[in-house]
C-alpha cells in the first residue's frame, strides 16, 4: 500500500473522464476520440499493413469496451498503460497467430518498390526496409521499439505497458538498436 501511494502519478486533465467512462457512454466516446488515432498509428507501425491495423485497432477498442466497467484504474495514465498493453498484446498475438506476416511484409515491400519505380523520391533507408529489419526482432522487442520511437513514450511509461522495470526497457532498447545497426549496416537492402 505504501509503495502504491508513494508512486508518482501523472495528473492530466482527463483523469475525471477515465472515472466517468466506467459508467457513462458519452465519456467513453470522448476517450475513444482521444485515443483512436494513437492506437491506430501504433498498430500500423507494429503491423505495417493498414487493413490489418484496422482489424487489430477494432479488437483493441472492443476489448476496452468490454472491460471498461470493471477497469480498476483511476487516472489517464492508468488508462493509457492499459490500452497500450492491450494493443501490444493484440498486435503480438496477431503476428504470432498468422503466417500471413511474411506475406504481408513481402507485399508491402513489393508495393513500395513499385511506387518507387514511378517516383523520384528515395530514402537511403526507407520504412519497408526498416520494418523488414524490425521484423527479425522478438515481438516484445518490437513493442518496446514502437512505443519508444513512434509513440514517443518515456521508459517509465513503456515499462508500465510491457510489465517490466524501466531499467530493463532501457537495456532492451539498447540491445535492439545494436541489433538493427548490425542488420541494416551489414545489409542495407534488408534482403538477407
Amino acid at each position: 500500500m505504501v509503495a502504491i501511494m508513494a508512486e508518482p502519478v501523472e495528473q492530466t486533465g482527463y483523469d475525471d473522464l477515465v472515472v466517468l467512462a466506467k459508467s457513462q457512454t458519452a465519456a467513453l466516446g470522448r476517450l475513444y476520440d482521444l485515443y483512436y488515432d494513437r492506437i491506430f498509428r501504433f498498430c500500423v507501425h507494429r503491423l505495417f499493413n493498414r487493413s490489418t491495423a484496422e482489424d487489430v485497432t477494432s479488437s483493441v477498442f472492443l476489448t476496452v469496451a468490454r472491460g471498461m466497467p470493471r477497469f480498476q484504474g483511476r487516472t489517464e495514465q492508468d488508462f493509457r498503460s492499459w490500452i497500450y498493453t492491450i494493443a501490444a498484446n493484440q498486435a503480438n498475438a496477431h503476428i504470432r497467430k498468422t503466417i500471413r506476416r511474411q506475406r504481408l511484409m513481402e507485399n508491402a515491400v513489393a508495393q513500395r518498390r513499385a511506387r518507387e519505380r514511378d517516383s523520384d523520391e528515395w530514402y537511403s533507408l526507407d520504412w519497408p526496409t526498416l520494418y523488414a529489419a524490425i521484423q527479425g526482432l522478438k515481438p516484445e522487442q518490437q513493442t518496446v521499439l514502437t512505443l519508444r520511437f513512434f509513440e514517443n513514450m518515456d521508459y517509465d511509461a513503456i515499462a508500465k505497458v510491457v510489465g517490466a522495470r524501466p531499467a530493463t526497457v532501457r537495456v532492451t532498447l539498447h540491445r535492439v538498436l545494436r541489433r538493427l545497426q548490425k542488420v541494416l549496416g551489414g545489409n542495407p537492402g534488408g534482403e538477407e
Binding site: Y36, E54, F61, Y123, G185
Partner: protein, 515 residues
C-alpha cells in the same frame, strides 16, 4: 546508418509510414465500441444485482411486485390443478410417486467428511429395482433388488467381478431402500418422524423443501457414532420430482460428522448391465454363491436388467490427439502429490453413444481481461498442436477461463491441454461445471488438485499431473451445466497460465430428453 538513439529517432521521424486513419473506420468502430460498452455495462449491473458471495442484494420494488405476482400465479395454478396440497405443497408421498414415475434415477452424491471429499454416481433402474454405484476409484457395485437379488462388486485393482447375495442389513441390505428418494420416503413414513415442509430457492428457481430428522439404528463414520441424520430433499414444483438433496450426519453431541450433497436427474434410458458402467467385459467373474465361474476372456453373465427404453450404451470416447512434443514423462521431484506418469497410452474412456466435443467453437471468457499472447477463441478452435504461438497465455497468479456451451449439457469428460510442448506441471488445476454464468450457485467441482486451497474453492484431493500430448482427461461425472470453468495458478516453469485447447465431451440436455 545511425550511431545512437537520437540518430535513430531522426531516421524514423523522416520516414513515410502512411499511418493516417480512415474516417469511415473510425466512425464505424466508434459505434461498435459504444454499443459493446453498453452491453457490457448492462451485464455487469445484472451480475452485481444478483449478489456476490451468496449475499443477495435486496430486490428493487419493481422486482418485488413481479415476484409477488409470480407467487400468486403459482398458487392459483396449484389450486386449479387440484393437487393434494397442504398450503400449496404436496406431501412427500406424491413427490416420491412423481420421482419414481420415470424408468431411471441418476444421482450424483458428493460426500464431505473430515476434509475428505468423494463423489459417487448412482444409476437406479426404478422399474427393475437395480442400482449401479460408480465410485471415484473406478470401482463399481451393482445391487439387484428385483428378481435377481444379488450384489456384484467390481474391483479395478483386482480386475475381478464378485457376485454375492444381497447383504441382510445396512444401507443396501435386502430390506433397505435402494435409492435416496425411497430411503427418504421410508424414513418419513415412520410415526415418530415429522416431515418439515417449506419452500426455498435453488439455482434461482423456487423449490419445495422437505426435511426430516431421523435416528439411524447403528451407524459409524470413521469410528465415530452417528446419533442423528438430517435429510433434506428439494423438489421441483413443475415436475414434482426430487432434484437435489442433502444429508447431515451428526454426533451424539450434535456436531456435524459428515454431509452429502445430492443432485438428481431422471433420464429416459440408462446402462443395460454392469458392463455399461465401466466394468470390462473380459474381467474374470467370481461367484461366491456358486464358486469360481469364469476365467479371463470368458463372457460373463451380466446382471439381469430389462432392455433399455432406447439405444443407450457406453462406448470409448473418440478423440484426436496432437503430435507428441517430447518422449516419456520425466518425474518432477519438486512437485508434491504428482501423479505417476503412465507408460502406456491412456485407457479408453467410456461415454454414452453420441457424445461429442460440445465446446468446439464455443465462446471463451477469462479472468485475465487481456491474454498476454493469443486470443481466447484459440482454446476451443480444435487445434491442439503445441506449435509456436498456438497457446493462449494468461497472466500470473490464479486465472480461469470459462467456456459457454450455449446450452445446458451433460458433461462426461473435460480434456485440457495447457502447454504440452514441455513436461510442465500446472498448479491448482480445478474444473467446475455450472448453469450460473457467475458461478455463484449450483457449482459442481469435477476436479481439484489445489491441495492448499490457494484458489479458495476448498482443498482438492486430486493429484498434480505432467502435461503430455494426451491432455488431462477429467471425468465430468455426468454433471449438467452450461458453463465449464478451468482454473490454474502458474506452472513449474513460470508463473503464467497457458491453454492450447480445452475439449468438453457431453451431450446437450435437449438431445438426451428427446431420446
Amino acid at each position: 546508418m545511425f550511431e545512437n538513439e537520437r540518430d535513430f529517432r531522426k531516421l524514423v521521424a523522416g520516414m513515410e509510414t502512411n499511418d493516417e486513419p480512415s474516417a469511415a473506420h473510425r466512425e464505424r468502430l466508434r459505434r461498435q465500441t459504444l454499443q459493446t460498452f453498453e452491453q457490457a455495462r448492462a451485464r455487469d449491473v445484472s451480475v452485481k444485482t444478483s449478489g456476490r458471495n451468496g449475499v443477495h442484494t435486496p430486490p428493487h420494488p419493481v422486482w418485488k411486485l413481479a415476484i409477488a405476482a409470480a407467487v400468486l400465479i403459482g398458487a392459483s395454478t396449484a389450486v386449479w390443478m387440484g393437487l393434494d396440497f397442504a398450503g400449496g405443497q404436496p406431501t412427500f408421498e406424491r413427490i416420491r410417486a412423481a420421482s419414481e414415475s420415470t424408468p431411471w434415477l441418476l444421482a450424483v452424491a458428493t460426500r464431505y467428511s473430515d476434509g475428505d471429499v468423494g463423489t459417487d454416481t448412482y444409476w437406479s433402474n426404478l422399474a427393475a429395482k437395480e442400482v449401479y454405484v460408480m465410485a471415484e476409484d473406478e470401482g463399481v457395485v451393482g445391487y439387484s433388488y428385483g428378481a435377481g437379488q444379488m450384489k456384484l462388486a467390481y474391483s479395478p485393482r483386482l480386475k475381478t467381478l464378485v457376485v454375492s447375495e444381497l447383504p441382510r442389513t445396512g444401507p443396501f441390505g435386502v430390506e433397505s431402500a435402494y435409492n435416496f428418494v425411497q430411503a427418504f420416503a421410508v424414513l418419513a413414513a415412520k410415526d415418530d418422524v415429522v416431515v418439515e415442509r417449506s419452500t426455498g430457492e435453488r439455482e434461482g428457481r423456487p423449490v419445495w423443501v422437505y426435511a426430516i430428522d431421523a435416528a439411524p439404528s447403528v451407524m459409524r463414520i470413521e469410528g465415530k457414532e452417528v446419533a442423528g441424520v438430517r435429510m433434506t430433499a428439494l423438489a421441483d414444483p413443475r415436475t414434482k420430482r426430487v432434484v437435489a438433496a442433502g444429508v447431515e450426519y451428526k454426533s451424539p453431541g450434535g456436531a456435524l460428522l459428515a454431509r452429502e450433497d445430492w443432485v438428481m436427474n431422471y433420464p429416459q434410458a440408462g446402462p443395460s448391465s454392469i458392463y455399461d458402467v465401466g466394468v470390462p467385459r473380459t474381467t474374470r467373474v467370481f461367484d461366491t454363491r456358486q464358486g469360481y465361474r469364469g476365467t479371463p476372456g470368458d463372457v460373463p453373465t451380466p446382471i439381469s436388467t430389462p432392455s433399455p427404453t432406447s439405444g443407450f450404451r457406453l462406448e470409448p470416447l473418440k478423440m484426436e490427439l496432437p503430435r507428441a512434443m517430447f518422449r516419456g514423462t520425466p518425474v518432477d521431484g519438486r512437485t508434491p502429490n504428482l501423479e505417476k506418469p503412465r507408460r502406456d497410452p491412456r485407457p479408453a474412456f467410456l461415454a454414452p453413444a453420441g457424445t461429442t466435443n460440445v465446446a468446439r467453437g464455443r465462446p471463451v471468457s477469462s479472468s485475465d481481461l487481456e491474454p498476454l499472447t493469443g486470443s481466447l477463441d484459440q482454446i476451443t478452435d480444435g487445434d491442439k498442436e503445441a506449435t509456436e504461438g498456438n497457446a493462449v497465455e494468461l497472466g500470473p497468479r490464479p486465472q480461469y477461463i470459462t467456456i459457454d456451451l450455449l446450452e445446458p449439457c451433460e458433461v462426461y469428460a473435460v480434456v485440457i491441454w495447457h502447454q504440452h510442448r514441455w513436461p510442465r506441471v500446472y498448479y491448482d488445476v480445478a474444473v467446475q461445471v455450472c448453469d450460473d454464468p457467475s458461478f455463484k450457485t449450483g457449482v459442481r467441482t469435477v476436479f481439484n488438485n489445489d491441495a492448499d486451497d490457494s484458489l479458495g474453492l476448498g482443498a482438492g484431493r486430486d493429484l498434480h499431473y505432467t502435461e503430455t500430448y494426451e491432455g488431462k482427461l477429467i471425468d465430468g461425472k455426468s454433471t449438467q451445466g452450461r458453463y465449464v470453468r478451468c482454473y490454474s495458478n502458474g506452472n513449474t516453469h513460470d508463473e503464467l497460465n497457458h491453454y492450447i485447447e480445452v475439449e468438453v465431451y457431453g451431450r446437450p440436455m435437449k438431445s438426451i430428453q428427446s431420446n
